[in-house]
Symmetry: C2
Subunit: 123 residues, 2 copies
DNA sequence: TGACGTATGTTACAAGTGTAACGTATGTGT
DNA sequence: ACACATACGTTACACTTGTAACATACGTCA
């Protein structure tokens, strides 16, 4: 599974909170923050769909985007990669240390813990 | 300060252990691991020097490379970036949780802690 | 039905990164 | 002085990412 880039992650965060959303709606949320033109947002969304980071549906005649993987799933991959390559921590990670990041709820942290301590070569 | 890419980080890790080293010596260490040709290693080294990740000197008529920033300095930047963008943890970070990563000694962790809890917009 | 706004498709271009070959210079041994 | 190995400089090419414009299609209102 391809890891999202920083910009892609920004978009995913919006969609994890509220999905599906149209390109227009996503632009309203991330455009000002990233200082992107609508065009740029759309290009990034297309690429994310190509890479299967997002699923594409049509609602009321408009294309809407939904994340393919859950927040916990995606972030566990990103975190695993980071700890492996940067800190060379291959084994179980001390995820409890991050539980005050507002990024995830307690349940999501629990889910993430599961993924992180999985057999580790299954996605 | 530009963050090192994953490959660049591999080279830096070697040089933090033992520097300065020539391109040939670096190749002997990272070539097999990264499965790089000597050419590739040299290109990457040049780019790292351009970006001021490495300093270039001449010893006994050969070019040798030395990291510009300490391991603690560099990793603090990488970690800060990661926690900011991925987990949105802006404040002080629970670095104690990582102290069993063999990447840094106790002294280096102490140095890293300092950087991480610095005013945060000074490099 | 024609104009206008919005949605969608296509194309572009520069920087960064992975990956490497080609050509040239220079030191060392014979 | 020449050949050979090694070092060094230059160039190449594809892929990803950031960033965006241009063009076309389609629905709605007048």
């Amino acid at each position: 599974m391809t890891q999202p880039s920083k910009s892609e992650l920004t978009i995913l965060k919006v969609l994890w909170t509220e999905a599906p959303l149209s390109a227009r709606e996503i632009q309203e949320k991330v455009g000002p923050q990233l200082k992107w033109s609508f065009s740029t947002t759309r290009t990034t969304l297309s690429r994310m769909a190509e890479k299967s980071l997002l699923r594409l549906d049509t609602k009321h005649g408009v294309r809407v985007y939904t994340p393919v993987e859950s927040k916990a799933r995606t972030l566990s991959g990103v975190m695993r990669e980071f700890f492996d390559t940067v800190l060379e921590m291959k084994g179980p990670l001390p995820t409890a240390a991050f539980h005050d990041s507002k990024m995830l709820s307690e349940e999501e942290w629990a889910e993430l813990d599961l993924y992180l301590n999985e057999s580790h070569d299954d996605d």
